[in-house]
Subunit: 303 residues, 6 copies
């Protein structure tokens, strides 16, 4: 979002050391605000990524146990101050997965955001290798998601976290393998379970292999919007694909408040482009996304 010119603040907890200082510099570089980051704790969490290829999967080795963020506790962040000029608060399911304190701080934030009228969104982001502090996603997530206006997940997240599977719908997408009815069913069940939710979004990744994915999404609000799947045949880096979808979706929902279809399309195209960029940050411009939406995925040299 920062990349598209929306003022943003990243709220997290980092230790008092040179590595954390460098993280702040890097965030600033990409226009991400750092005014509400609290300092303390022992260490920056890290993870190791082995990048896969073809049939060999990428592997993540987490090394984030006891990071400053995982040892956050309620009260450490002054959420009232954070939300004072904010319109939107987004959190991800990775936060409550790492520790009880992080889950508690997350709840504290959601409740304050709800109280202060700030829109709340979440990306469920279920990771089975996290959730090791004695509670399960099934126990912890429902109360957090209750406070959300916008809910995003992939097909697995809804089933693994809430046990929600498509019910016996019949409608199918015309002439394709995508079954719109299945997605609609999942979204409707989510909205029944979490009445505050106004929009439910599903990202759809098809893994041909580690270098070749398809990528699309659907959004349910007043009705189901289903956008075409992009064929990403030579992935550069898929880490951050979901995050770039979410950031671009919020941008879309804020920029085209009356046009959920446009927001969905913007998010899908933007995160499709993220797969062609190395690293965690999606560096594309609004113009590049719009160009792809106009149908130009030819990758011809601009000169």
């Amino acid at each position: 979002m920062a990349n598209y010119g929306i003022p943003t603040e990243f709220v997290t907890r980092l230790p008092e050391n040179d590595i954390a200082d460098w993280c702040l510099s890097d965030l600033r570089k990409y226009h991400v605000g750092t005014n509400h980051i609290v300092r303390g704790g022992d260490r920056v969490g890290v993870y190791f990524l082995e990048t896969g290829a073809v049939a060999r999967a990428s592997k993540v080795v987490y090394n984030r146990a006891h990071s400053s963020m995982s040892e956050i506790k309620p009260g450490m962040v002054d959420w009232k101050k954070v939300f004072k000029e904010a319109h939107w608060f987004h959190w991800t399911g990775i936060t409550p997965a790492i520790s009880q304190g992080a889950a508690d701080a997350c709840l504290e934030a959601i409740e304050m955001a709800n109280e202060m009228g700030v829109t709340v969104s979440t990306d469920l982001n279920f990771r089975k290798n996290l959730w090791k502090y004695g509670k399960t996603a099934q126990e912890v997530m429902p109360v957090l998601v209750e406070g959300c206006d916008v809910i995003l997940g992939n097909e697995e997240d809804f089933e693994k976290v809430f046990g929600i599977k498509p019910e016996g719908f019949e409608v199918t997408a015309t002439g394709g393998e995508v079954n719109a009815g299945e997605f609609e069913s999942v979204c409707i069940q989510m909205m029944r379970k979490f009445p505050r939710a106004k929009k439910v979004i599903i990202t759809l990744r098809g893994s041909v292999n580690a270098n070749h994915n398809t990528w699309g999404g659907c959004l349910y609000s007043d009705r189901l919007y289903l956008f075409k799947r992009y064929d990403i045949t030579h992935i550069v880096d898929r880490v951050g694909g979901g995050d770039s979808f979410m950031g671009s979706l919020i941008y879309g929902l804020l920029t085209y408040p009356e046009d959920d279809r446009k927001a969905l399309e913007f998010a899908t195209a933007a995160s499709c482009l993220k797969h062609t960029i190395y690293g965690d940050f999606n560096l594309v411009t609004v113009a590049e996304v719009e160009n792809l939406l106009k149908g130009d995925g030819s990758g011809c040299v601009l000169r």
Copy 2:
């Protein structure tokens, strides 16, 4: 051409500094003659290339304004001396695009080449982001192209520079999406417009995405020769693709003077291989091109 053993001289203008000296060394490394390069002016032109992937296009940011070459003027190169032992003079549409002086020097060279009986060829190379000095390609190019014996362009060049589009031909290539008639129409119109031209060549790039292109070409002289499109599924670097086609075509026309089909095939196969090599220079040998022409595109290890 230098790479295939044909004596060549690169005529340009470079400043008197260490960077330009290094450029000369690099040219020599690849057998390219530097005897007629004139020195003077402020700076070497540079450009920045962001390499695209999949649906994200490569982008060129030109930084060549006021380069030594763009400030060339007629009289700076002694064309009589240059062409004394030359048989062929090739120029590209990028030169007259950068400045009035470069366009004038280009015309001066073409006229002298014509006078001295040196064959002249051009690659139209239309670039919309150049042509900023107050004249358009449409105004400048015709008089230059009038002096040419061999004219190469891609489909866009002919339309954008001369407004030439295929007329209502009916003939189509047997069993394929390639419409030979369209190409033939464009070539014939060009030859009518520029009677000196003996051969018109069109390169045909199909952009599936930034990593995957198809690549072919056709040549019109006594008749239309149309060569198959190669499928380049994992491009390494497409910059220089057109230049390697042109260089290889001249090699082909010189080496097989009676066999335009062979020259076209050689150029197409050679520049197909260029797409697999990083950097501006096509480093393949004649043997490698011949091997591909014999049908071996399997890429099996030679050992």
Copy 3:
């Protein structure tokens, strides 16, 4: 094999210098035993590899003439000691290709292995650019292969080395381009020619281009086992593909002694994964191979 936890010893000859010492360190890193490596001679053999792409083939320039290994002579290795606790001896057709001494030492090893009841396997590995010391593969290989219990080659090897081509079989694989009968014919001819052989294995590489291969194999023992071809669309490094097949096959034959089909499948899947790893060593775990055999070639991130 070392990578899967099987104790192995690599028997070769290396000079007494720092480069050779470093090779030993690297072997140890990957669990490969170095206890029977003999030291002597002038130099480590090296080769240069130009990595191909799409239609441009990889090229190997050998620089192994007069390496320590090529100047090995019978008597330099104490094979009795080498085989004392060994169950399996594997040699490759590259060894007898480099010099008479290496061929002689190879024969000496095979005879001792036969005498001591050690299983012997070979990968025929025909390389036309080697075999320069005055003898041909056709002259030298038969007596060596006679001592083998397990013989592996690709389709070319059998024809080029032994003149064995498929006879007029009729059986074809159901619904596919693979002709099982042809492979069976080759294997049966090999077993008739070399009665000691209990298993003949053929690796099947289909080269779409340098980045995209198909990869499969078949094994003949009591009957023909034919395993599906993997589609490797974005090869990282195919050097060592055959070696990783052979090492994994021996692992499979030792681990599943009653199940040739399983051994073949393990070898094929393991070496498919090798194509996604840069360098000569196949670093995959048994778990990764099993995962692919279970059908998961999606390359999804494990996190």
Copy 4:
């Protein structure tokens, strides 16, 4: 200064392209404000640096002719707005050296700063390879320097730009090769010539060779303050040494307004440390500078 936490704005002119955007990101990374940078013109200026060693000098090949900054004109920057909340304006002698427009814009800024009561400082930064637009430093600089409160230069700058050399002083520094009287003479002459100047500072570089320099400085205000020369025996990168001195001096003068000696010492120690950091930015903290000022130049590992 930004690095030490002082709010700063970098005022310059950059073209509208991706390279310039990236420069802005990099500035933000290091806390440097970009709010007053104007966009326009053809290109970002670049230069090439060959890094010297021992007796081989570093060489700069400038490639900044016709950069956006060199084509700045008076009126392009809204200096009133720039200086609205500013306390200090610093400019460098490189700006008026590159073009008449840049010199004019520089004068425009100085006059506005004077009018609005903003302190003005300059680093004379004489570069003989610039100054190519038809005027000399001797002609252009005096009127610009007249508006300055703080003037910094090295020994050469004062002589080459203003013809000021030490007059016949006798005083010498106690027990050392440094001749304080000479410096004092130069400073006093400068203050006589430019009555607005309240402080004149001289940086003192001794070049043993390209890897080994001595580095010190003196400041004249009410009296001469002379600080010891650091011995920098293993330079990492001396580019930006002078700039880091100036930035640190301004920090010092603002932070210790009553203590010119302290400001001088801070500037000298900070820029000494810059010589150990690769790149243009001085990344040291105030604590690191203070540590060196306390006498700890031992470089012992902090752990």
Copy 5:
């Protein structure tokens, strides 16, 4: 030691993941045994190193809180098995600094080593930024050091951990700045305090700056042996300097059991050479150390 051919085993605790597996491979590469490494816990400890230069110190940011090793507990390692064929056990003061469990496990090991007649050595290695679990080095170290036969430290360690400073000795080294009496005093006090100790060794680092150190050592057993300081004028990497001294000292004490002077000299020369090698491992051979001891520090090319 492993590097010199002495069989060694590295006893530590690592998690069950791919990163830890890679650490094991790397240890094997350098001949270090991994048979007694126990697996468990959450993470591999890491640290970040900013490499200093001249007056800018190197900085270590520890990120080892809650590493597998820091969460070791008595009983996790089967010390009886570890020491079964061992002659020497070395531990470092970093281990008891990281956690109570590590301190307890260290004591458990020392007691078992003492019981089984295994020689015990320690490097005091005081690090003020560790020791954060609630106990001080002063409280924890004495009982551990009581079980040691050989004690190594630098000048600071003895004072900071045991409060031992040189008493009023008069003897001085002939003609130099080194005060042998001071060192002797410290050693004698240590041996009085820890009667089991048979040898006390002090490493002597003089930090001219981060690139230039002097390096020497002294050993006290029956008398004081003091070895010359090497002048290391262009340090490549000083991390691991102390560890390479200790490893080489143990090698020396084992190899020249009657010649403490020789052991000291070997350790000093070997670790001097370590300062010229990038990374944690000292890769020099015995021959290289002996060559330096013979007086050849000229660094002439061997060819």
Copy 6:
């Protein structure tokens, strides 16, 4: 020499393969002629270099046994053609050290050069790790050196190859450690032994350590010229130091035929600068050498 603009041809033997082709390209890059290089044999010789630091020596592991050059034989090079337009032939003592054939071809060349009136020079370049084909330098070199007009060596070469040590001279250089008499004695003995020799040159390297050398030279013709030693405190790469001295000396002797002192100074300064350049080629310009000779070794940035 090529670097200074003197036409040169490098005569050697290389195999017919891509690696050798690349070597030719690289030579051309640096203006070195390749017209007389003969092709044939098995392999390009290579060597491995471990770069030393401080007290750790650089180590060369030769891997040149049986290279194309080492298997050269008389008759392979058409020396008559080579020397047709040549004025100077230089050979190095490494050539006769590698094989009998190379020694024979060397003699063949020297004799032809003598016959055709081409000046012959040699660099003795004694390398103890070469000379392995059954003859010693003492046996082979005299007949080769007999044909030389100019002889260069370092102090060791004269003693190790010809047993020539300084006789009992008394003269010493004024006020320094350099003993001019010793050098003069060696030169005079050489000229007595090899009457054809008109000039004998000794390079003088003082190895403080691997990073810090002193470097000078003396030349004896009508009298002894002795040039100051440069102090090279931060060597970048000393490989090629001697070769750059020789090349620059020949340039000097050709350019200043009446001024041996100047030639010596040029050679010494040029090769001093070589020590600051990574790789085998000395890339400095005549202007850079002259600048150092004028006394500017300060390494100040040129800008």
